[in-house]
């Protein structure tokens, strides 16, 4: 029994599942403590997951589609964080890269050539390129001049936010909070999805997300580029001594990392909105991506699952409110999950304690 428990705690995937369960358990207790029925919370979550409303027995596929749509930026920003983390970097700048991607997509949507398909493709490409530049600069500074990526990415988040405001205020029809409507050719909506999901916002972005997950997995696990990056992330000194171009690895990884977040910005801009937004604050997808990657252990599959969970929680918020459950509980559960992830080392300590107890028992028996 003991070795199996040990294996469980050593398996990162199992710990992530455990952590999520713990987060929900504590969340349940909190809901009960404020005098609400926790069952309603789970009803809301179930409805967001399956589209089925237990209370009135009605099915609406739209909820499933919205959960998927919400999870797209979470997953992409999780990939952004995860990619850098695997190379040993802490990219807090997902938010800035996301904002720059969003801004670029909006600009191209409003100013670009209105040719079907090409238009939105150009906008997405722009979002990816600007995101990778915004991240790549950080990688370059880190690799060449040892500038801490944590500090530079945090600062660039604010640069991105205000730069975005300056740019978007110059766009056609800009007021203090929005621009003119996007032309049809720039939108990434999917008529088929809208038809089968009761006009949900689910759009072609989900294909781009799925492609990104594959790209992430492919680069990391299959290519020699990813091999060099993983070696750099695990042991920079050994990688360098073995001739792996560490500086290149770091710069490229930050650029790729930024590309994921930039794409997330582009998808949200042209998939979920009909007009360009002049941001007054951050959307926080970039920051939530940090949690998503940590819960998902920075693997392609894990990050996807964690992103879906975060999308589910976000979509369940409105449903919870309609069932008198404060929607803030979803933030609390997210926060708890992150805290429990951070407590992983405590779990290991607990395991050691159990081992010791077991040992003493064995000795006592003999």
């Amino acid at each position: 029994m003991k070795p199996s428990r040990q294996k469980l705690i050593q398996s990162d995937g199992a710990v992530s599942v455990l952590v999520v369960v713990l987060g929900f358990l504590v969340g349940t207790v909190l809901v009960a403590l404020v005098g609400k029925n926790p069952l309603n919370m789970y009803k809301a979550l179930f409805q967001a997951l399956s589209g089925y409303n237990i209370d009135n027995g009605r099915m609406n596929v739209r909820y499933i589609a919205e959960t998927l749509n919400y999870s797209v930026p979470f997953i992409l920003c999780g990939l952004s964080m995860g990619f850098a983390k695997r190379v040993g970097l802490f990219n807090i700048g997902g938010e800035g890269q996301y904002i720059m991607g969003m801004t670029m997509a909006q600009a191209i949507a409003l100013l670009g050539p209105r040719i079907p398909v090409l238009h939105w493709m150009l906008a997405m490409l722009g979002a990816i390129v600007i995101g990778s530049l915004w991240g790549g600069v950080v990688g370059l500074l880190k690799a060449k001049y040892e500038v801490s990526e944590v500090v530079s990415t945090i600062m660039l988040n604010y640069v991105a936010l205000y730069l975005s405001r300056i740019i978007c205020l110059q766009l056609p029809g800009a007021t203090t909070y929005k621009t003119a409507n996007f032309p049809e050719t720039a939108l990434i909506g999917n008529a088929f999805f809208q038809k089968i999901t009761n006009n949900s916002l689910l759009n072609n972005g989900i294909f781009m997300m799925a492609g990104s997950v594959l790209v992430y997995w492919f680069i990391m696990e299959k290519t020699s580029l990813g091999y060099g990056m993983r070696a750099t992330g695990f042991n920079k000194d050994a990688a360098r001594a073995s001739g792996i171009p560490v500086i290149k690895s770091i710069s490229i990884s930050m650029a790729i990392s930024g590309a994921f977040a930039g794409l997330a910005g582009g998808i949200v801009a042209l998939g979920s909105f009909k007009y360009g937004r002049v941001l007054s604050g951050m959307d926080n997808y970039g920051f939530d991506g940090i949690a998503v990657a940590l819960v998902g252990n920075c693997t392609a599959l894990g990050t996807t699952l964690a992103g879906l969970l975060f999308g589910l929680l976000k979509n369940a918020q409105a449903l919870m409110q309609s069932k008198q459950i404060p929607k803030e509980i979803t933030f609390i559960i997210q926060g708890l999950i992150v805290i429990f992830i951070a407590l992983r080392s405590a779990l290991k300590l607990y395991q050691e304690y159990l081992d010791k107890k077991q040992l003493q028992k064995e000795v006592g028996v003999k």
């Binding site: 020699s224 060099g228 070696a231 050994a238 990688a239 001594a241 171009p245």
Partner: protein
């Protein structure tokens, strides 16, 4: 004293899941003797001592101190019973002073206030009584490793230890510091302390120990009077078969110059010149050793050759071609192999499998590449399985075992396998047998000699004179960043080199 023995550990058995670490081991240590506990890595020495120190409890068996049965539940009980332990990895607070470290946890107080003055006096008194020279007011981070070890010894003495366990105490020391430690051990014995010395270095046992208990694979092989046995006898008891110390090295004519250092200058990160005007040639089929005390410019010299450090002047030629401005990867492709001193830091990626580690330097080449930069993991695993067989790497899951889970000797074999499999023209080797057990040392040395026979040019840096004398054709002695002299191995004695290492002899012999 009631009993003849200070410590008696009778029939100690200790199992871990899947392993019997100690199988009915009996250890009897007399009062005031230095008792060596000898065995290869994994023989159960450390487990036995951890039981004595209370870090583990035995499954069965009995511990007696001076004839009195005791139950040592945890290290605090051990301390109260007068047992102290000097760990291999020191447990010191870097930014505390020597005195603060020693009294930590048992600070003398006056009323409710710390009484550091009397603490300092106490430490100074102990330090002079046992000839443990160390400045009580220095910060631990400012003193040498040898001095830090003395602080650890003082910690046990401050806690009134009568029995002191030393866990591989010389693993981290320079030859000079080892000599000093040997004197300290003798002094402790003459002051009435009982000492258990865990080691796998036979020379040290012959030098200081009175008796020696040998463990092999968790079993007690026997206890001998050290003066009655030779190093060879001890080695055979430890390994279970005859061991060759002197490796046979066929006579061989060196070929043309493969590695040439010309007036090399290297500065460290603070800009201090650490390698000064070093010129040295290494020929095909020749092993040239760099002898010297740690910290005399060896690591900077290695860094300059391998490309880890920039050079400040001079030139490095590999097969006649200057390489000092090439990247690390370009140097590797030119035929430079490197077995680094710190294998955990520079040699292997612990989280990677053996296969990923053996491919670390050539993963991007065609042999492991399919289209579009896709890695051929299958080819990688296959090659690794070959190397595992060829180099006798012991692993749980073959090529897919993570390198971090291997023992030190097997990790080193992974590094050696990788470097040799790349067929380098020049092989730079640093401290290749550091921290390894006798069997692994023998194996690695044989492999290096075999490379020499293949006509590789080998540059060996080692702090162990034995190793240098054993392996090298020519020996360059380095002191304060300068090559003091280059001698043929058969024209120089260890004694001469020792003198040159200390910098006392300036001209070539």
């Amino acid at each position: 004293m009631v009993s003849e023995y200070a410590i008696e550990m009778m029939n100690i058995t200790k199992t871990f899941p899947g392993v019997v670490a100690n199988d009915k081991v009996t250890l009897q240590v007399r009062h005031q003797e230095i008792h060596a506990l000898l065995g290869e890595n994994g023989a159960g020495k450390s487990t036995l001592m951890s039981i004595l120190f209370g870090s583990y409890s035995a499954d069965s068996g009995l511990i007696l101190l001076d004839g009195r049965p005791v139950e040592i539940k945890n290290p605090n009980v051990a301390t109260a019973l007068g047992i102290g332990m000097v760990h291999q990895h020191f447990k010191l607070v870097q930014n505390y002073t020597v005195t603060e470290n020693i009294v930590l946890g048992m600070e003398p107080t006056k009323g409710r206030l710390l009484d550091m003055k009397s603490a300092r006096e106490h430490v100074a008194r102990l330090s002079s009584q046992y000839a443990l020279k160390v400045d009580p007011d220095s910060l631990v981070e400012d003193i040498t490793v040898g001095q830090q070890q003395r602080v650890e010894i003082l910690k046990t003495l401050y806690r009134n230890a009568n029995i002191i366990i030393f866990d591989e105490p010389t693993a981290v020391l320079t030859p000079q510091e080892i000599d000093e430690l040997m004197d300290i051990l003798k002094k402790l014995r003459s002051e009435g302390k009982t000492i258990v010395l865990i080691t796998h270095k036979l020379k040290e046992i012959k030098e200081v120990a009175d008796r020696c208990t040998v463990l092999r694979r968790g079993r007690c092989i026997g206890t001998v009077e050290v003066k009655d046995v030779s190093e060879q006898d001890l080695a055979e008891m430890m390994v279970g078969r005859a061991v060759k110390f002197e490796i046979e090295k066929p006579e061989q004519q060196p070929g043309r110059v493969m590695l040439s250092l010309k007036n090399l200058q290297v500065a460290d990160q603070n800009g201090t010149m650490r390698v000064k005007d070093v010129s040295l040639d290494v020929h095909e089929g020749e092993i040239v050793g760099i002898a010297g005390v740690d910290g005399n410019g060896q690591s900077e010299l290695l860094g300059a050759i391998t490309g880890l450090l920039p050079i400040a002047g001079g030139s490095v030629l590999l097969d006649g071609k200057p390489i000092e401005n090439l990247s690390i990867r370009q140097r590797i492709e030119e035929g430079l192999g490197y077995i680094p001193e710190d294998r955990k830091k520079y040699g292997v990626v612990g989280e990677f499998t053996i296969a990923e580690n053996t491919a670390l330097k050539n993963y991007y080449r065609d042999a492991y590449r399919k289209r579009m930069g896709i890695l051929d993991y299958e080819a990688m695993n296959q090659e690794a399985e070959n190397l595992i067989k060829q180099f006798d790497i012991r692993s749980a899951e073959g090529a897919k075992t993570t390198a971090g889970s291997l023992s030190g000797g097997n990790q080193q074999k992974v590094v050696v396998a990788r470097e040799i499999s790349l067929s380098p023209k020049v092989l730079v080797v640093a401290q290749p047998t550091r921290g390894l057990d006798v069997g692994a040392i023998e194996y690695i040395r044989k492999r290096i000699i075999a490379e020499r026979e293949k006509g590789r040019a080998i540059l060996l840096v080692s702090f162990e004179l034995d190793e240098i004398m054993n392996l090298c054709d020519r020996i360059a002695t380095i002191s304060k960043g300068r090559i003091v002299a280059v001698n043929k191995q058969n024209e120089v004695t260890e004694y001469d080199i020792g003198l040159m290492m200390a910098g006392s002899k300036k001209e070539a012999l």
